[in-house]
């Protein structure tokens, strides 16, 4: 271990150190405010530590043969940390109102984020599985955190069981791949076509793909998503939808580029099938939802399908375009999704149950124009309509699809978006409907969360109208990482 190793892994060390400090803090004095403060401090210091890490890497830095840290990983890590900051800010009023012991939530948030950072940088199965489990186990507890309520427990149990199945699929796959290739490092996984172990290898790859598809909730491995999204507290749902999926996306793009697994025709078409099915089925099922959280769950399935287009053209389009698309889409998706669940969360702060039925948002435009505007921006962004960052993201996916001449995928994206417009507009229409007299009053909302949501809403619009800074930044990162 050299000093550079230390500096490059510094953000992770800061994060884990902060977690330990928080644990000690919780052991000594239990105050919600202090826990939040320590968490935010840790997260912000970890963001700052990335600056030090960046100074020590050129195009990429191989850490212990387990992690590879490049500008792209730094981008993802900072995104996860910012996502965690927003989650912590939303969690405070939410848990403060309804729970006695809220401090442990922040410990779990920090460990989950550490896990996500490890997954995103993994170049070896050992670090991949380790990170994934740290992330998943923290998530089980986060989902079940309001332990007095029935729904979160149910959601956590479902997630636990199904996630364990996915993890074991990945483990089995890793075992087979290892048996065939004799290595667990991504970059060395290539196996010659003549090799006798080729079929083991492919079977292993297929199992790994199944596990990853589960984590990304792609059709047909999406069954858990709506239930977990609905059952988990809105803050946690936002976190699951963004950070946990973002980590796996980062891993996927790493994995696909290092192992060239998509150059196997069978795997390629299987993933194409998964992508198309996610786009179509996700959008179709979203049409039937009356619960906002479930609607967002199905919409996230579709969005991951869109994102998969960029991953699939990895061999036919320019690699820098693929990476730009993935980074931009993930960043946009983070902003939009956090804003969406932020709104659900902040209207639920003072309620016993989450405010998740679409009916509850009837006439929001006339009752709370600010929140309605943000939610409209969210809906338009998810639908990919200009003036929002969602359009820029979708534009990139279209560009990647066209450049990769993946016409079938472009068509699926088109059809999926068309169906999508339908239910996003229905959400908007619900908000502009006149409130019927005698309708339940809108729950009271806290100022702090409103500010956070408004900032996210503004980001959606500002980056949608003037995306140049973001695009330039991502391009610089991608180029600096050697593409």
């Amino acid at each position: 271990m050299t000093l550079t190793d230390l500096w490059v892994s510094f953000p992770l060390i800061v994060l884990v150190g902060g977690t330990l400090v928080l644990m000690i803090g919780v052991s000594i004095v239990r105050t919600h405010k202090l826990a939040l403060g320590l968490t935010l401090l840790t997260l912000i210091l970890s963001v700052a530590a990335h600056d030090i890490a960046l100074e020590n890497i050129t195009t990429g830095y191989e850490l212990f043969g387990l992690l590879n840290v490049s500008g792209i990983q730094v981008f993802f890590n900072v995104l996860f940390l910012l996502g965690a900051i927003v989650t912590a800010l939303f969690a405070y009023p939410y848990f403060n109102e309804r729970m006695e012991r809220c401090e442990e939530f922040y410990i779990l948030l920090l460990t989950a984020t550490a896990g996500a950072m490890v997954v995103a940088a993994a170049t070896h199965f050992a670090s991949f599985i380790l990170g994934l489990e740290i992330l998943s186990i923290s998530l089980y507890a986060m989902i079940a955190y309001p332990r007095e309520s029935h729904q979160p427990l149910e959601a956590a149990a479902k997630y636990l069981v199904l996630s364990a199945v996915a993890s074991s699929a990945i483990l089995m796959g890793v075992a087979l791949v290892y048996a065939a290739s004799g290595t667990m490092a991504f970059a060395e996984l290539n196996i010659s076509p003549e090799s006798g172990e080729r079929s083991y290898f492919l079977l292993g790859q297929a199992l790994i793909c199944v596990g990853i598809a589960f984590k990304l909730s792609l059709v047909p491995f999406h069954m858990w998503t709506p239930d977990v999204y609905q059952g988990a507290p809105a803050v946690v749902t936002g976190y699951v939808a963004t950070v946990s999926k973002g980590a796996v996306i980062a891993l996927l793009i790493n994995y696909v580029q290092a192992t060239e697994v998509l150059s196997y025709t069978g795997v390629f078409y299987a993933v194409v099938f998964v992508a198309v099915a996610s786009m179509i089925v996700g959008n179709l099922l979203a049409l039937l939802q009356t619960n906002l959280k479930r609607l967002l769950a199905y919409s996230s399935i579709a969005h991951l399908g869109y994102l998969l287009i960029a991953v699939l053209v990895v061999n036919t389009a320019r690699p820098e375009l693929v990476l730009e698309t993935v980074l931009l889409y993930v960043a946009a998706y983070f902003i939009i999704t956090l804003a969406a669940f932020g709104i659900v969360n902040l209207t639920s702060e003072h309620a016993t149950e989450d405010n998740e039925q679409m009916e509850a948002y009837t006439g929001l435009f006339w009752r709370n124009p600010l929140l309605a505007s943000v939610l409209t921006a969210v809906a338009l962004a998810l639908a990919g309509i200009p003036l929002t960052v969602g359009f820029i993201a979708k534009f990139y996916v279209f560009a990647a699809g066209v450049e990769g001449t993946a016409w079938a995928l472009v068509w699926a994206l088109l059809i999926g978006s068309a169906i999508g417009v339908f239910y996003y507009l229905r959400l908007i229409y619900t908000m502009v409907k006149q409130v019927e007299p005698g309708a339940a009053a809108l729950p009271q909302v806290g100022t702090q969360s409103v500010v956070a949501v408004t900032v996210l809403g503004l980001l959606i619009v500002v980056l949608g109208v003037y995306p140049t800074p973001m695009i330039d930044m991502i391009r610089t990162i991608v180029q600096a990482s050697g593409f």
Partner: protein
């Protein structure tokens, strides 16, 4: 590809067949060997082979500490494995290994402190962290 199954796939397929075969044998065998009595008698009573239960199932409460202790055992038992592994390679890993093990044991200590302070190690009466206005009430198990 056609329909020819590659030679090297045979062990895997045989493995699958054996697993499913074993499952099938177990299910079928238990059907034939096992007792046919479905309900009635002592069938629906827990511990049917011995002590007759007293009261309803809801009254059958086991102290949560049993589970906690079991979990702690599993956790700290696992940590021992790592420490033993390091101890065996103490010479080879040198100071770097020592540092890593120290960090690891330090983390365990913090976890232990946390468990102690949250009252997870107490049996019976929970001695939670006293904090005015918040956890003033000391509740019993």
């Amino acid at each position: 590809m056609a329909t020819v199954i590659p030679v090297d796939m045979w062990p895997f397929l045989i493995f699958c067949v054996v697993v499913f075969g074993l499952l099938g044998v177990m299910l079928v065998a238990s059907w034939y060997i096992g007792s046919k009595a479905r309900h009635g008698g002592a069938q629906d009573i827990p511990y049917e082979s011995g002590i007759v239960p007293v009261g309803e199932a809801e009254d059958m409460r086991l102290s949560i500490e049993f589970y906690l202790v079991a979990i702690f055992f599993v956790i700290f038992d696992l940590e021992t494995i790592f420490i033993v592994a390091w101890a065996v390679a103490f010479e080879e890993t040198a100071w770097l290994g020592y540092g890593a093990a120290a960090v690891f044991i330090g983390m365990l200590l913090i976890a232990l402190l946390y468990e102690y302070r949250t009252g997870a190690l107490d049996w019976g009466i929970k001695r939670r962290v006293y904090e005015p206005g918040r956890y003033a009430k000391v509740d019993s198990a």
